[in-house]
């Protein structure tokens, strides 16, 4: 892939657009861009690199996201774009976009409470139910279906729901 300097902006935008079509394998309604995992697209000469950051240290989805990105670039004729995992700066739920938060909510997952008191020794967070909006909810389990979610229950509509933990 050879690129004239004037095409760089267009190339970056195209790489970003293709990368944004990849969704989180565990929450397939939200793109990795809206989840804040897609950090940056770096072009240096003929070398194009996409940087992604893991949500949790042990996130088992990262390998899959990496191979889906490579697949997406190959399909779009953008190969060889390198996909690199970066640890710094550490991912935070603050990077989830407004669109992403809405998508999580509509999917039945309560988005992270902004400014949640993560370091409190005992839990105190209030989480509104994503189905009926009631705040009469309780945590059933701090670690839910994946490491990034907790399991909650709504006392108003009696439904259990996932809560995307503040991180």
């Amino acid at each position: 892939m050879t690129t004239a300097p004037g095409d760089l902006t267009a190339l970056c935008a195209e790489v970003r657009r293709v990368a944004s079509t990849v969704v989180d394998p565990e929450i397939p309604v939200i793109s990795i861009a809206d989840l804040g995992i897609l950090r940056e697209v770096v072009v240096a000469g003929d070398h194009v690199e996409v940087r992604i950051t893991p949500t949790y240290s042990g996130c088992p989805a990262m390998n899959m996201i990496k191979s889906e990105l490579e697949q997406a670039f190959a399909t779009a004729g953008l190969a060889p774009v390198q996909v690199r995992l970066v640890l710094s700066p550490a991912w935070t739920t603050d990077w989830i976009t407004e669109t992403g938060r809405r998508q999580l909510h509509d999917y039945g997952i309560a988005p992270p409470a902004p400014g949640g008191d993560r370091t409190a020794l005992f839990g105190t967070t209030t989480v509104p139910c994503p189905r009926c909006g009631s705040t009469d909810t309780t945590q059933l389990a701090a670690f839910g279906s994946t490491a990034c979610k907790a399991l909650w229950r709504c006392a108003t509509c009696r439904e259990p729901f996932d809560y995307f933990k503040c991180h």
């Binding site: 240290s57 640890l87 550490a90 993560r118 409190a120 020794l121 005992f122 389990a141 701090a142 670690f143």
Partner: protein, 258 residues
């Protein structure tokens, strides 16, 4: 092609990184032993998720150890091909799970130390360690809260759960002194701003543990003889059994992949 055990270079930074990685891997392995055996489904998932966090931290640290040593070794080489005396984890984390109370109390004692440790290490002059700490700190905060809430539930629960939690606290207490020991060579890393002086965390650790223990109506044991040796590779017999399980496949079928 049998590769056998590896011997790693003995430099302060490598030793330090491997010690932290070993803590995370060994405790992560212990928690993974609960998978399918948890006292209730939610707790089975919680312990497995915490194991995943810890093993993820270990992977990042072992990968960094590979860069530090620059001997062409990856994370798997350090985890699978070092013998028990090369492991530098704390004795506390290799102690057997016992009953659920013992697992929870072990998690409380360790998390109350490692959570502020990671937070302090975020300011390390070593950018990779600072980045790993910034991720780990978010995870350890949840582990600490989880262990705190369960310690209260068990201690302030039934007579049976109270007795078990107290017994676990009494039996694990002699392993807490080692949290604050510093192996030879680590002083220089601390002076260079790379590592954290564990002694600075003694008071906050004690305050956290005391707060939880009191709320759980348990009694803080008196400080007596403290066990140590893990950081220098002198382990209890439990670690050998753990490693024989963890390393079996790579030892029996060197280089196996799937």
């Amino acid at each position: 092609m049998y590769t056998g055990s590896i011997t790693v270079a003995d430099t302060p930074l490598l030793r330090y990184v491997l010690g932290r990685a070993d803590d995370a891997l060994v405790l992560g392995h212990r928690l993974s032993e609960w998978c399918g055996h948890g006292p209730l489904l939610e707790e089975d998932m919680a312990l497995s998720n915490m194991a995943l966090d810890l093993i993820g931290q270990a992977r990042a640290l072992y990968t960094y150890a590979g860069e530090v040593e620059a001997a062409g070794r990856d994370e798997d080489a350090y985890a699978y091909l070092r013998d028990v005396t090369s492991y530098a984890n704390l004795l506390l984390v290799e102690q057997p799970n016992g009953d659920f109370a013992r697992t929870i109390v072990r998690q409380l004692l360790f998390s109350a130390f490692i959570d502020p440790y990671w937070r302090a290490l975020m300011a390390s002059t070593d950018p990779t360690l600072a980045a790993i700490a910034a991720k780990a700190e978010k995870e350890s905060a949840y582990h600490l809260r989880h262990a705190s809430e369960w310690t209260v539930r068990l201690g302030d629960g039934t007579a049976e759960s109270h007795a078990r939690a107290q017994r676990a606290l009494d039996e694990l207490w002699p392993f807490t002194g080692e949290l604050f020991t510093m192996p030879a060579g680590e002083r220089a890393l601390i002076d260079a701003g790379i590592a954290i002086d564990p002694e600075t965390l003694r008071a906050p650790w004690r305050a956290t543990v005391t707060r939880v223990v009191e709320r759980a109506t348990l009694t803080l044991p008196a400080d007596g003889w403290m066990q140590r040796g893990g950081r220098e590779g002198r382990h209890s017999e439990h670690l050998g059994h753990l490693l024989s399980d963890l390393q079996y496949l790579q030892r029996a079928f060197p280089g196996a992949t799937w």
